[in-house]
């Protein structure tokens, strides 16, 4: 993985020193809150309902064990012993005190982490496929490109004051695990005539106006990446609206002007810009690529895996849900569920983070990933080590066998923490997970994604959930709307609203009725919830959700 050079270290140290001085000036009264707020946001510091929040970027979701241990240290030294992994592959600390934050940033700097541009109207942390560099279906590792984008976008003078935030997602696989169609710019590796390039998607996004991104360039040669991105950003920076915050994202610019006009403007700008790139970026990319060389995968007998798989049903259940195919047949990708039933989705304690760091170091070539689904990945584990890894995870409450199942829920912090939220998300997720665990149904139900947002900004990705839940404030009471049929993969789709919302104590029973209906009408155990919905549409689910309305019609 990428290692900071002397320039990176000096840049980060200087930036942290600047912020330390800004915090001091806010505390001594030299800066007003209006002056300080944009400065703190540029460095990932929010003020939420009960405390400050520090959002730390995990670039393209990749960590090594030393970095994970440092995240644990921050949780224990300056927070309340845990951190929250988010849908943008970041980690958030919910309880830092303002005077401590400069020390936290310095501690992060020691291991090459930072909080720069995790907020504000700039280019945010580039997210990537969490199986990058390991997946069997991958054309090429997207992370060197994500690192190139990180270096290019960090403190890029032209793009520090965009009309609104700007998010880039990248995947190197045809199977999209990075939700690239819901990003301002999505990059998908594709192959054409034996050459690998990018399909560039623009104008996707969730929030109050959810949109699936549109293809602006079906094949972009790799060396053109930065000049082309710069052209997209440049066109957006000029054309994007600044009169209305809710119409300022590039998805609205694309919608109002049409993809054809945007494409025309971007291509014209690209002709101007490409000549400004003299090859330095390509030299840098070549250097970055050396940091991402695959580990020397060890070979060995996998019979220990097979023996445990047939002998231990608990291990088998975990292996069936939490492992994915690795490009080396004798290795596996392990998804560690941070969704123990009844716990807060995405919250890991400092102790758990250390266990994950230890496992990465002992069994996983020192690599960890954070997924947008708020889980932690050990991307390379030799199959013979899986029984040992599972045993250690089990000892620390990390062996929940539910990846891709109904209790593997994405939930934003919601009104338990977030100042923007209109309702709670976390307790709804906790209760759904607990309920279906009690019913012992989740393995029968199979693949089903529930995603919950506590306001229309949709940090919980509810629009692209098979069952999406949106918490709102209706006349001073929490109310939850349901959407069905969303899809976060390469066949991305926005879910459709079922009808009126449900009160806090009605939402879990409503989800239960949806699932009962699905179990009753699916053609076989192989047909997933999403497939049943696509086959039969909304009607049977509506009947289950609103029995009273159906009676009135009859």
């Amino acid at each position: 993985m990428y290692k900071y050079n002397a320039f990176d270290e000096a840049f980060l140290a200087e930036r942290n020193a600047q912020f330390r001085a800004q915090v001091e000036r806010r505390i001594d009264g030299s800066l007003t809150e209006d002056e300080f707020k944009p400065l703190r946001l540029m460095n990932g510091v929010y003020l939420q309902l009960h405390a400050y929040m520090l959002r730390v970027a995990i670039p393209y979701g990749t960590l090594n064990s030393a970095q994970m241990r440092q995240l644990a240290l921050l949780a224990e030294k300056w927070d309340k012993g845990y951190g929250h992994f988010t849908t943008r592959q970041n980690i958030q600390y919910n309880w830092p005190k303002l005077p401590d934050i400069p020390d936290m940033l310095d501690a992060l700097g020691e291991v090459g982490l930072h909080a720069i541009q995790t907020s504000g109207n700039t280019i945010r942390n580039t997210t990537a496929d969490h199986f990058a560099g390991a997946a069997a279906d991958e054309l090429t590792d997207p992370r060197p490109y994500a690192e190139l984008i990180r270096q290019w976008s960090t403190d890029h003078p032209e793009f520090q004051f965009l009309g609104r935030k700007f998010k880039i997602g990248i995947t190197g696989s045809p199977n999209d695990r990075a939700v690239v169609k819901a990003h301002d710019v999505g990059l998908r590796m594709v192959e054409k005539d034996g050459e690998i390039g990018f399909e560039v998607i623009v104008g996707g996004g969730l929030g109050r106006t959810p949109m699936v991104g549109k293809v602006i360039r079906d094949f972009l040669p790799q060396p053109d990446l930065l000049p082309y991105l710069e052209s997209v950003l440049s066109v957006y920076n000029v054309l994007g609206r600044r009169d209305n915050k809710y119409k300022a994202r590039i998805k609205i610019t694309v919608q109002e002007n049409g993809i054809d006009k945007i494409r025309e403007l971007v291509e014209a700008r690209f002709e101007e810009r490409r000549h400004e790139f003299d090859g330095t970026d390509q030299a840098l990319l070549a250097e970055i690529k050396t940091h991402f060389a695959a580990p020397q995968f060890r070979s060995g007998d996998t019979s220990a895996f097979d023996a445990t798989y047939s002998a231990d049903p608990v291990f088998r259940a975990w292996a069936d849900t939490n492992l994915a195919a690795h490009r080396q047949a004798d290795h596996a990708i392990v998804t560690v569920s941070i969704k123990a039933h009844g716990q807060t989705p995405g919250d890991a304690s400092g102790g758990q983070m250390r266990v994950l760091a230890d496992l990465a170091e002992e069994f996983g070539y020192d690599e960890l990933r954070i997924s947008h689904q708020q889980n932690v990945i050990l991307p390379h584990v030799h199959k013979s080590d899986l029984p040992a890894v599972h045993a250690r995870l089990k000892d620390h409450g990390l062996a929940t066998a539910n990846v891709g199942l109904i209790s593997d829920i994405i939930a934003c912090p919601g009104m338990d923490y977030c100042a923007l939220a209109t309702a709670r998300s976390i307790p709804v997720a906790q209760e759904i997970a607990t309920r279906f665990d009690d019913l012992k149904l989740e393995h029968d139900i199979g693949h089903l994604q529930i995603k919950i947002s506590g306001c229309i900004n949709a940090c919980g990705h509810h629009h692209v959930a098979h069952i999406g839940i949106l918490g709102l404030d209706r006349a001073g009471v929490e109310n939850y709307q349901i959407t069905l049929g969303g899809d976060a993969t390469e066949t991305a789709a926005i879910g459709k609203r079922t009808g009126p919302g449900f009160a806090y104590d009605e939402i879990v029973p409503a989800v239960e009725r949806l699932v009962e209906t699905y179990l009753a009408i699916r053609t076989s155990e192989e047909e997933t919830f999403l497939e049943t919905y696509r086959r039969l549409g909304m009607e049977p689910f509506k009947t289950a959700l609103y029995p009273e309305a159906q009676k009135k019609v009859a």
Binding site: L47, L49, A51, T344, D416, I426, P427, D473
Partner: protein, 102 residues
């Protein structure tokens, strides 16, 4: 017809700790909503907010929040202010943690 004025308290976050604070009748800040000044006069509310904002050097984002009189002082009328008063519902952190340690 204009909506009838509902009683208010002034609330903000502490600059250093970031936690929820309330403005008292003595122009000081308290961690307890029950000790806040309940403002019942519509004409007085914006003036008291100006008084509170004079202390912007140590607070962040003062605003008027709906509240009602209770047996032990002001109480929240909306669930958002109730969460701000108590802390999150997934852990006993925030103000509820402080109460537990008393």
């Amino acid at each position: 017809m204009a909506r009838a004025f509902t009683p208010k308290v002034i609330t903000a976050n502490d600059l250093l700790e970031g936690d929820v604070i309330y403005f008292t009748a003595e122009d000081t800040w308290t961690r307890e909503l029950s000790e806040a000044e309940l403002i019942t006069d519509e004409a007085v509310a914006p003036l008291r907010l100006l008084d509170a904002e004079k202390q912007n050097i140590k607070i962040v984002g003062a605003y008027l929040a709906d509240a009602q009189a209770g047996p032990n002082g002001p109480e929240p009328t909306h669930f958002r202010e109730d969460f701000r008063r108590k802390g999150p519902s997934n852990y006993s952190h925030g103000k509820q943690e402080a109460f537990a340690n008393v």
